[in-house]
Each structure stands twice: as C-alpha cells, then as structure tokens.
C-alpha cells in the first residue's frame, strides 16, 4: 500500500504528519526552513499565487487579494456568512449556492483556496520522502456537516490528493493521546481552534476509541477572540484619536494581527503593550489579561453549552469522565483552561502540543488505513441528525445524531399522482423540527419511474453515511429491482463537473514555472524589507551617524536594483546585506521605542493616581 499522510487543514495553520515506521510514533514534517505550521493563507496578489508565510506577509499589503480563515467559508452559502463579511478584507460575491470569493475579476471557491494549502503540504511531504504522495487523511471539525466535509474532500481532489478518509479533529487528537498517554477510560476532548469549536466524549477500551457523543460550533474560535479585541481597539482609537479605521482594510489587518499577537502574549503575561505605527499616527495601548478576559468571557462561556449537551447525549455527568484533553491553539488561553476545569472538575491534559496533536492523530489514522496499526480502531459518530422533508415542511429523522458510522437507513418512496415519473426528496441535517431551520444538504430527483397508478411504485432509498461522515444515496425500484436514476443537486456544494474543471485548472497552474513562483516570493520578501527600512529611516535617521546612513542608503539602492532583476540569488543576497546594514539602527529604534513605552506607562500610572 502506498504511503498515506495525515493532514490537519486548520483555520489558522495547517500541518502534515506521518507515522515513523521505526518508532511507531507520529511526527510532523517541517518545511525547508524548519517551520512546522503552514499559515492557512493564500494570496493572489501579483502574478502568482502565494501560500503560507509568504502569503501572510501580503495580509497588510494586499488585504483585498489575500484570503485567510477560508475554513469558515467551506461548504457554506452567501447567506450563512454575510454577517461576518464586513470583517473580511476580501470580497464575497452575493450569489446563490456556494460562497464565491472575488479577487479582481476572478471568482474562486473556498475548496480551491484550501486546495492550494493542501498542495503546499503535499509538496512538503514529497520533498521529505523523495517520492510522490497521493493519499491523505484530512481532518475536519467533528461538527462539520455533510457539505463542509464534501467541500474538504473536493479540496483534496483539486490538490491532486485522494482523501482516503475524513477524520474528526477531536477524535484524531484522542488517537494521538491514546497511542502515548491514555489507554482506557471515558475522555472528553475539548477542541477550540482558530475558527471552530468541538467537544467529543469517547470511551477508550482495548484499543477501541468509541465516540459516544459530539457537539460543537463550526463558527467559534480564536478568530472571534481577535475580533472582540479589534472592536474594542477601534472604539479606543475613535475616542483617543478621533479616527474611524473600520473602512481602512490595511489598518484593519494591522489591528487584527496586533490583536492576535497581544492575545497570544497574554497567555503568558498579565499585561502587554501594543504599538501600531499607522500613517497618520502611532497607536499605543496597554492591555491586561483581565481586560482580555472580560472581552472574551461570553465567547468562552458559549462553548460550555455544547459540552453539556454532549454529556447529556452520552448519558454522562461531568464527574463520570476520567480525563479531559485540550486541543487547538485557543486552549492556551488561561480563561479557557479555567472554564474547562470548572465544568469538568479536573485538570485537563495538554502534554501534546495543542497545535500539532490533530495532525499527529491524522497520521495515526492514516497508518491504521495503510495496515501499519491493527490494534487500534476509531468508531466515530455522525454529529447531526439526518432527515428528509415531509409534508408541511416537517423533518422526518432517518439517522439520529451521534449514531456510530458507517450507518444507513432505508425509506420507501412512492408516487402521489397517476403516471408520475419523477419523485423529489429534500435531505436536510440538523436538530430542528422544521426543514427550513435545518441545513439543506441536497435535493434528489428519482426519475425513470414506469408510469403506474399513484402509490403503486415502490422505490427503496438507502441513505448511507460512510466512515467519513459523508452521505451516499442509492435508490432501487422494488418491482423491477432496477436502480433508479438519482440526480443530486447539492445546495452548498460543487457539482462533479465543477470539481473536474478545477482539477484540470490546478494541473495547468501546477505546470507554471516553480522558479517564477520562487522569484515572486523572494521579491515580496525584498519589498517588505524595503518598506520597513524606508519607514525606519524617516523615523530614525537622526539616531545614526552620517557614515552609517550612507551604508544603509547604498544597501537600499542595491536591493532596489536587484529587486528589478530576475536573479533570485542576487535579490536574496541584497536582502541579507540590507538586514545586516540596518541591524544597529533597528536596535537603537527598539531602545527608543521601549523607553517611549515606559515613559507613557509611567504617565498613565500618574494619571490614574
């Protein structure tokens, strides 16, 4: 069997991992710079496509052409996401069906963006193993619905990867813990990532990982924390500088990145300061952990309701649990840990790196599928009830939530009019009683029914949810035993033809010169350095002597010249030289900024008294 890698396709970061045959342990694969996390960001600025850290650098420079957190848009429609569009710097076309991101004149779907991230990880794994990688296990939030899972699978196909299994993130994490830490007992996995939240309750026994219940929110995560901070900062800026930055896309990105960085620092520190040099003014602000906690308290509290519902569905009380495991970068936030500990009444596990544990678990599942592990088995569930719309718009549930997958349900359909040749069904997912309040998955059209009096044809439809949590529908006319023709119209998905076309397109793009892409990346890096140096010189020229100024000016001119040419090595050398030439200046400026910050803090303290 060919090699299968495990991929965590995250909202903020993505990773690829594999199981080391020698040790039997999963390992993450770093890129050539030693970086394990690939920022899930894709930039369409300029001629080529950038992904990861290179794309992240374009967030502030070209916000309208740089796509981040696309996972929140996977398998969704315009109406689902329109509330958060004001916060996204890129445009989303108001269209029926699946979300379409508008970059200039080009429309691109979320699976295509995710495919670019997947492809980059695929290439990273290929470089690591020195062989082509064609198969992967890809993780998704446990609470992802059918459309979101299908979109993830489509992304794999567009990237040239056969997604042999979609695994739920919390259960993947439990596999990684199971291999190394937890052998038996009832476990709760609390997974709060960049954009999604899941809670899964598992029973682990004799190598079997049986999910008892799962719940969550596919629109809640660290992104929302950042947004809460940004809104607070905007208010503060309005009050102190009389400026509203809401419509300034570049400033909003600066604020978002600064807010994210401050949030991260506040996991370790009680207080941190934020300095953002805007064109017209430099914004400085201190933020304490207590202030952050006040801003995100409601968001954190809203994760506890799904926890209680999952426990109720599993028929368990918090005290029944043996272990609680924390997964996802946002569980580093002390308030999150405190609330989880309060709810479950025990200290949660977080020994495995919360950023990596899902990818490690995906690698374990990949190894199981490849036949490398035979004593572990994951029995997962479908997170949402599956039903069909019946008369009056009421949902008739065929497969209740938390049913172990694979699973199926059979339903008989017939005609209501003499000679009727076609029967429609509307399949939905969700817990509400009315179809309009549930998630519409697809409309199915059974056709080719022989004309008969009403009620005579008997068509058996089998709804099968496979081990990926994805629905497959087949229909048989019972009299003839003939398979009935089904046409599927996914409500929020790509058609088979769409995916085919995207696969072809991606091959065309793949053939584009790798060298050209590397050149773009190198140029972008040079641009970033040039911008920084120019800004530094306007602010800090007075700090250095004339000779040093001359050296820097010369290095800057050399870099600008190299940037205009196509020799990648020369650009890189010039960039390095530029960095060296400004090292001293950077130090001086850092000192000055620190002194400034200290001075302003002291002033604040005096004011308070």
């Amino acid at each position: 069997m060919s090699r299968i890698v495990g991929i965590d396709l995250g909202t903020t970061n993505s990773l690829v991992a594999y199981v080391d045959e020698k040790t039997g342990l999963p390992r993450v694969i770093p890129d050539r710079d030693g970086q394990v996390l690939l920022p899930s960001i894709v930039s369409f600025a300029g001629e080529g496509v950038l992904v990861g850290a290179a794309a992240k650098r374009q967030l502030v420079r070209r916000p309208e052409a740089t796509v981040y957190s696309v996972k929140r848009l996977m398998g969704r429609g315009y109406d689902d996401v329109k509330d958060e569009l004001p916060y996204l710097p890129f445009a989303v076309a108001p269209a029926e069906g699946i979300v379409k991101i508008q970059i200039g004149s080009r429309e691109i779907t979320p699976p295509e963006v995710s495919a670019i991230v997947l492809k980059s990880l695929k290439e990273r794994a290929e470089a690591h193993f020195g062989e082509p990688i064609e198969k992967a296990v890809v993780t998704v939030p446990a609470y992802f619905n059918d459309s979101q899972r299908q979109a993830t699978k489509d992304a794999g196909r567009i990237a040239g990867l056969d997604v042999v299994r979609i695994v739920n993130e919390p259960t993947a994490a439990s596999l990684a813990y199971g291999l190394q830490r937890i052998r038996e007992g009832l476990i709760a996995v609390y997974d709060l990532g960049g954009g999604t939240f899941d809670i899964s309750i598992l029973k682990v026994k004799d190598g079997i990982f049986e999910v008892l219940a799962t719940n969550g929110n596919t629109h809640l995560g660290g992104d929302d924390f950042d947004r809460a901070i940004v809104l607070w900062l905007l208010e503060d800026i309005r009050a102190r500088h009389q400026v509203d930055l809401t419509d300034d896309a570049e400033a909003m990105q600066e604020l978002r990145l600064a807010a994210e960085a401050a949030k991260i620092r506040l996991s370790a520190d009680e207080r941190t300061s934020l300095t953002i040099p805007f064109d017209r003014f430099t914004y400085r602000r201190d933020i304490t952990r207590a202030e952050l906690e006040q801003l995100i308290d409601k968001l954190v509290a809203s994760t506890l309701t799904p926890c209680r519902m999952a426990l109720a569905d599993a028929g368990l009380a918090p005290s029944d649990l043996d272990e609680v495991v924390l997964v996802g970068g946002s569980t580093r936030v002390p308030l999150v840990r405190r609330r989880v500990q309060e709810l479950f009444g025990k200290t949660p596990h977080s020994q495995l790196n919360p950023d990596e544990v899902v990818a490690l678990g995906a690698a374990v599942q990949a190894h199981i599928l490849a036949g490398g592990i035979t004593d572990m088995l994951l029995l997962d569930v479908t997170p949402l009830s599956l039903g069909i719309e019946t008369l009056g718009g009421i949902v008739s549930v065929l497969i209740p939530r938390n049913t172990t997958i694979p699973t199926n349900a059979r339903e008989m359909f017939t005609t209501s009019v003499d000679g009727q040749r076609v029967v429609d069904m509307h399949v939905v997912q969700g817990e509400r009683e009315l179809a309009k309040d549930c998630r519409s998955l697809a409309r199915f059209e059974l056709s080719g029914i022989d004309p008969m009096p009403a009620g005579m044809p008997k068509i058996e439809v089998v709804f099968l949810i496979d081990a990926n949590g994805i629905l497959n529908v087949t229909a048989t006319e019972q009299r003839s035993g003939k398979a009935a023709a089904i046409e599927v119209k996914p409500t929020y998905g790509l058609s088979e033809a769409d995916v085919e076309r995207m696969v072809e397109d991606s091959f065309t793009y793949a053939e584009a010169d790798v060298e050209a892409r590397l050149l773009i990346e190198t140029r972008n890096e040079a641009d970033t350095v040039i911008t920084h140096v120019e800004r530094a010189l306007t602010q800090g020229r007075r700090l250095i002597g004339e000779e040093e100024q001359r050296t820097i000016d010369a290095a800057l001119a050399a870099l600008k010249d190299a940037r205009g040419r196509t020799d990648r090595d020369r650009i890189r050398e010039a960039t390095t030289a530029m960095n060296q030439a400004t090292e001293h200046l950077a130090e001086l400026m850092m000192d000055a900024a620190l002194k400034g910050a200290l001075a302003s803090r002291r002033a604040d303290e005096i004011m308070e008294r």
Binding site: R165, L379, P400
Partner: protein
C-alpha cells in the same frame, strides 16, 4: 438478518450490556472498513454494508428501551427504521390535566406567562417527568420480564402492553420537552435528545 441475529442472540430482551459491548468491539475489529482498505471495490461495498448493519444493531440493542422499540417493529414485520414507531398517546388519567397544560403552552407561545402560571407549569412538568420515569421503569422491569417469560401464545398480549406503554412514554416526553421550551430551560428550538 435481524439485529439479534447479528450478535447471535435469541429474540429476548434480557441482554448483558457488557457482553454486548465486548461482542460489538470484537465484530468491529473483524469487519470495520478501516481494516479492509485494499479489498476489491465490490468487497469494500459489502464490508461497508455489513459494518453499517452492525452499528445499527448495536445502537438498537444496547439501550433497554430502544431494544423494546426494535422488538415491536420486528414482531410486527415493519420496515427497519429508527424514529417514530408509535404514535404518542396521552394516558387517560391525565387527559384533564393535559388540557390545562396545552392551554398554558398556547399562552406561552402567544405572549408569555406570568410568574404564577410559570410556577404551576413547572410543578406540572415535574409530575409528568416522574410519570415518564415510572413508564420507563415499567418497560425495563415488569414488561420486559413478561415478554421474556411469555409462551408463544402470550406474546401478542405482551406486545400490546409494550405499545401502549411506549405511546404513553413518547407522549410524556413531547409534553415535557414542550414545557421546557416554553419555560426557556432548553435552547430555543433545539429538540431535546429523545433517548431511546
């Protein structure tokens, strides 16, 4: 193959939960699609089907009430399907009280309840919940034993008793859920999980 046969069990309701789980894990190890990735597509389809059947069987049998619901369907020769097996029916002795409750629920929908009405409804909810639990213990206890002990001739009567009890239980569940919703003690519109 019915769900009892999947586990090699007779059509009886007394099932040892731990033993059932042990067998479920054992059969899963043998037949889960994860361990048959290199089989032919036809074989994989069969394995998928068998695995779905095993999971459905375990789900139906592991819970004592779900087991009874399944048995009723099986004995009546109806299509295998989860969900509505019996039409909810109000217990006769509660009809009058139900009338009152429905009125209060209507009121809650159209405008809201005052504190006194809420309190009354809350107290009624507790009584109905107790009645619901009583119905469940009757199903698990005496009715289950009656079925397992019944001679073939007595089975029809045991089945009828099951159906009546299940109908009452389903009715009580719905009303308690409706009251919870009216009192705002469950998430808006979220159908409480009707555990079998």
């Amino acid at each position: 193959m019915d769900h009892f046969e999947v586990f090699g069990l007779p059509r009886r309701l007394a099932v040892d939960g731990a033993e059932l789980q042990r067998k479920f894990y054992e059969l899963s190890r043998l037949g889960h699609p994860d361990f048959h990735q290199s089989a032919s597509p036809e074989r994989q389809a069969e394995i998928l089907e068998a695995s779905a059947r095993l999971n459905a069987a375990y789900r139906a049998l592991r819970d004592p009430i779900a087991r009874i619901e399944y048995l009723v369907r099986l004995e009546e020769g109806r299509e295998t399907r989860e969900g509505a097996t019996v039409k909810p029916k109000a217990p006769p002795e509660l009809l009058e009280e139900m009338f009152e409750i429905q009125e209060a629920l209507q009121e809650a929908k159209s405008g809201g309840l005052d504190a006194a009405a809420r309190e009354t409804l809350g107290a009624q909810r507790e009584r109905l919940q107790a009645r619901y639990e009583h119905e469940e213990s009757r199903l698990r206890g005496p009715l289950t034993e009656a079925w397992d002990a019944a001679a073939p001739a007595g089975r029809a009567a045991a089945l009828t008793a099951f159906k009546e009890s299940l109908a009452t239980r389903a009715y009580l569940r719905t009303v308690v859920d409706d009251i919870d919703e009216a009192l705002g003690s469950s998430r808006e519109g979220y159908v409480a999980h009707r555990r079998h």
